[in-house]
Subunit: 411 residues, 2 copies
């Protein structure tokens, strides 16, 4: 299946927004053994027509267009697609009613122009938008398909999974393509090249695989795709034997989801005491629905005074060891555990930069501690990168330490 992607949006070409859709779509398609052959970015407006025409003339079986379905004057993807295939735009009362309901639910005043989103090219399949007002559209003509998806990621992703993937599965089944099977291992604590070194060569003996890697800050996804599900099971056993301690999840679970589910299963509560991560660990934990059952209290203690006042860190530790030290992180973790009456507590103190580093403690230094009633552990890391990535990497390691402690203490 020849697939092209067209991302519309002047903001992408002006450098105001980074294109994250291409990566999302590329990874999703890989799960079906499909690849994008080409991608184009065009500004809002008439250039979309040229790009669509070119994709069709290159015999793309599937052209995926993102953006330009909103209500404003530069949102003309819908009109262009209708014109290109000679389809009339027809007002769909059902969609109109949905938009009305969506608006009513939010008690907001919106201008009439938003109702243009209820216009659908004749014969198009409507892809429901449960997170916004603009529905997606899918038009098939002479064996070629174009799919129009909304620009905002929080609308595109659920629409992709809930409305487009079912269509794609049917299409692939109708084409009699042998189904492909995919498994992803999410790995924290060793890098991409170590994973490749340990796994890729030996795995070739277990079956005919396509290998995939996706490295993100402080974690890497290792992906196998094959037409033989039994080979996947054999491979999995080998993979866990080699690097099992570093695998925190399979498929799409995040480290915070794993930590929250371990806490729930063990009926435990967690507390957080953050300096350099500034609330990120608590934010990630509370991104998980139902976190309130396992997380009651957290502190952001950015100053030394706050660490002493809120967590009972002895003030004499700061002149003796510095705020970024094993002694302070242990006191923070133990203080949070006690003050919150929790079963486990995470603490972090470090130098996020860009300023504040010294030769002994350069920017990127972070101490991470995890306390339980049984013991407190602490580790030092160095993430010499920019501020936000540093915060993210530190939170990754902190959550993974909590995961390991929860697994150990439950045995």
């Amino acid at each position: 299946m020849k697939i092209e992607v067209i991302n519309t949006g002047s903001e992408l070409l002006l450098g105001h927004v980074t294109n994250t859709h291409l990566g999302f779509i590329g990874q999703e398609l890989l799960g079906f053994g499909l690849r994008i052959e080409r991608q184009a970015t065009v500004p809002d407006g008439a250039a979309i027509k040229t790009a669509l025409t070119e994709a069709i003339s290159r015999n793309a079986d599937l052209t995926i267009v993102t953006g330009g379905l909103g209500p404003t004057s530069d949102d003309i993807t819908r009109d262009i697609a209708a014109e290109l295939f000679g389809r009339k735009l027809i007002l769909q009362p059902e969609i109109y009613a949905k938009i009305e309901a969506y608006i009513a639910k939010r008690h907001i005043v919106v201008p009439d122009i938003i109702r243009v989103q209820a216009m659908v090219p004749e014969g198009a399949l409507v892809l429901d938008n449960n997170c916004g007002t603009a529905p997606g559209l899918l038009i098939e003509e002479k064996g070629q398909t174009i799919v129009l998806l909304p620009g905002p990621p929080r609308e595109l992703k659920p629409m992709w999974r809930d409305a487009f993937v079912p269509w794609l599965r049917n299409k692939l089944a109708a084409l009699n393509r042998p189904p492909t099977y995919e498994r992803v291992w999410r790995i924290l604590g060793i890098g991409e090249s170590s994973v490749q070194d340990k796994l890729e060569e030996p795995l070739k003996a277990f079956g005919d695989f396509e290998f995939g890697y996706c490295a993100r800050p402080a974690e890497v996804d290792f992906r196998l795709i094959t037409t033989d599900p039994a080979a996947l099971d054999r491979a999995s056993e080998f993979i866990y034997g080699q690097i099992g301690e570093f695998i925190y999840a399979e498929n799409n679970a995040t480290i915070e989801q794993i930590v929250v589910s371990l806490l729930k299963a063990q009926n435990k509560k967690i507390a957080t005491a953050e300096s350099c991560t500034g609330g990120l660990v608590a934010h990630r934990i509370t991104n998980v629905p139902g976190a309130s059952a396992v997380f009651h209290r957290g502190w952001v203690t950015y100053s030394n005074e706050a660490k002493t006042a809120e967590l009972g860190v002895p003030a004499e530790l700061f002149p003796a060891h510095g705020a970024v030290s094993e002694e302070v992180v242990r006191a923070m973790a133990k203080g949070a555990l006690d003050m919150a009456g929790a079963d486990i507590a995470i603490a972090l103190t470090g130098i996020a930069g860009p300023d504040g580093g010294t030769p002994e403690k350069p920017v990127g230094t972070v101490w991470i501690g995890v306390a339980t009633a049984r013991e407190t552990i602490a580790t030092k890391k160095l993430f010499a990168t920019e501020r936000e990535t540093f915060k993210h990497m530190a939170s990754q390691v902190a959550l993974d330490m909590a995961r390991k402690v929860l697994i150990q203490t439950n045995n």
Copy 2:
């Protein structure tokens, strides 16, 4: 000047790497009043030739190609460009010597094939690479220019600034072209379609503009592009007259950057007390470098007990009004202000969902409070969306309320 960008690399289409070159190049060009008209991503290999041919046939004055200059078998951009313009590849002894020196300095073993990087198409301008071995190349033919840049960002960026920008400046001076000017207003508190309603028609009287919108959760960028800088100033005055209270920044500043810079300018400290946002507001504030000067302490009080123990929220408020209430958010804000000894405090309590809603307080309800020594204000919002977007939207409004209070209390 008609500009196209071609990014080569299978990893971009497979979703393993996000394309950050496009954003960098887009912003850099904007600084010269230039815009990218089109961008394509193609896999390594022969597809580069098709993409380059198409750009040239569309009469692109300047085509910027990234990637494919390395030594491995799939790095063929150099050969394709030479072939396309009928230029011979000639070994350049100077570049050869530089590559040798680069390798010697690093005491690394490299395969002979790396020396292919010393091959230069006849008549091409060589762009020095001070951070790697592959030089960039610039070829001009019949008024069209193609520029070949290396794929790794740490090689591309310095080469762009040190070697390509000087060429571009000369070129623009020779062309005598009127530059274009851009301005972006970042807006919080009214939606994309309201902005269009209020601004687009009347602004047509102020000059010849291109309009652009970029909507993100709870905010929208409004962009004007024109060749007349005076028209931009007239427009700006009108825009502030119409929706000034909703504009928190121009160009690329974030709301948290604005809040931190107001706090710094006023020598004030902020504290946070978060329930439903779970640390996100503190996380955003501490993403800003230098936040430690204005932020010392924050709480994540997810349970009622935590709100009482940490912030002194009277326990009787919970049975009387519920945790998501004006009374509780005011007590949280005031408590955080006092406990932290801060000048301003933000508090949030709401129902992030997916569970926990009632008919009176549906999922998405949030009370947001801001306290200063002078007064405490509170507002209720409804963001009926999924959990993470809810948290983000609530944090947006909270930070914007703090911004407005800081501006008012300073007058």
